[in-house]
């Protein structure tokens, strides 16, 4: 059995482990939350280096790819460099190849439809998903400035997202990561209602679940959510708020769906192929992945 560990800057309260069957092989997956401590994360990665088959980075990216541009995130890069023997992945390979395929599959199934409005809570870290939604004729509202910087300015096109990315990302990635992304206890904070109207106006809510959770203060009646990293309690909360359909890009195991970094680490562990390898897209396609789609249970219907 292969072993992968996701070292996350997030809360340790969300730690869990499971076994995933992938490409005919079993992979033991474990998440270890560092409660926002980069030093603990560095030590943990160094201690696991050479003892597991792949490592995932949670709550931080190594790079942000926006259109043709790729920006190194110093915190993520520093964490990745703490391992010298074991491959370290941040989920970017899954976001680049698999998540657009999930969007296309959901469009083919009629779950996503042209003309809908999608609130992407953070699109700079999920540009391929944003581009796939845009290509499907879905109106984008990107919340990067709202949810990272509390600036009430929705970004309404891929072109503006790319332009803002060029201007802001090279500098913003130098800031302490916790200023931009909920880590540690912030992941458990009471939802902040200030951007509620953007949730209300959207047919689809997409992107990182930590941002969604942190700002989700209202009802979700009739809406579709496309996300990852949900727990059973998160899912119950979404149903109770009236969510119509939940699609996660990773499979559900023991009631949880894992982050993209975990999925990518598992795939790297069993295939030996990394995201920089030209064989990566074919490897992802051959892995037999499927989005996890659930409709609101009947007992939750009002």
């Amino acid at each position: 059995m292969k072993t992968v560990v996701s070292v996350s800057l997030g809360s340790s309260r969300r730690d869990h482990s499971a076994v995933l069957s992938l490409m005919g092989e079993e992979v033991h997956l474990a998440r270890r939350g560092m409660d926002g401590s980069i030093e603990r994360a560095l030590d943990t990665i160094a201690a696991l280096d050479g003892h597991v088959d792949a490592l995932g980075l949670g709550g931080v990216d190594r790079w942000l790819s926006v259109g043709p541009h790729r920006y190194t995130v110093p915190t993520g890069e520093r964490l990745a460099q703490a391992a010298t023997a074991t491959p370290v992945v941040d989920g970017g390979g899954i976001k680049a190849v698999w998540e657009p395929m999930v969007v296309q599959a959901l469009v083919a199934d009629g779950i996503l439809r042209p003309g809908q409005t999608a609130l992407m809570v953070s699109a700079l870290d999920r540009y391929p998903m944003a581009a796939a939604l845009d290509a499907a004729g879905i109106r984008l509202v990107c919340g990067d400035l709202m949810f990272s910087a509390r600036i009430d300015y929705p970004i309404r096109s891929l072109a503006e997202l790319e332009e803002l990315g060029r201007r802001l990302v090279p500098e913003m990635v130098k800031l302490p990561f916790e200023q931009l992304y909920p880590v540690g206890e912030d992941q458990e904070a009471t939802p902040d209602p200030r951007f509620l109207r953007h949730f209300e106006e959207a047919d689809v809510v997409a992107g990182d679940f930590h941002y969604i959770r942190r700002y989700l203060a209202g009802r979700l009646d009739g809406k579709v959510m496309l996300t990852t990293t949900t727990t059973a309690a998160d899912v119950d909360r979404l149903w109770s708020r009236g969510l119509s359909t939940l699609a996660t890009t990773s499979p559900q195991l023991d009631g949880r769906t894992f982050g993209t970094n975990v999925l990518e680490a598992a795939l790297v562990a069993v295939s030996g192929v990394g995201a920089a390898d030209p064989r990566w897209p074919d490897t992802v396609r051959a892995a037999g992945l499927a989005p996890f789609v659930r409709r609101r249970p009947a007992q939750e219907l009002a």
Partner: protein
Amino acid sequence: MSALRDTLAQFVEACNRNQRLQQMNHDWDRLILVQPDDADERHWIRYHQGVAALMPGEDSPDPADLLVEGASGVLVSIFSGASTPTEPYMSGDLRVRGAQDDVMRLDIIALLIWGE
């Protein structure tokens, strides 16, 4: 007029010419004090309903929401767009005191005005 005040006047003008910034800051009402370490100057910028104004005089009846400090040269360089604020901020050459969200917004304003 000092070089710093001249630079701040241009900064304010650039903020007000930028429609996107006006939209972004429509709900951001803040008083910003820019104070160099090496000169006896104090400059106040008021942001109100998306419009920035360089206040006359060196005093304000209201306390600052954001205090921006550093050597005159550093402040001129940042507010003129000759350098970005992030690195001097991280190195301590630029000190910005206030709510974290306001500090980040000021950073974003500077990056969006002068950009690329």
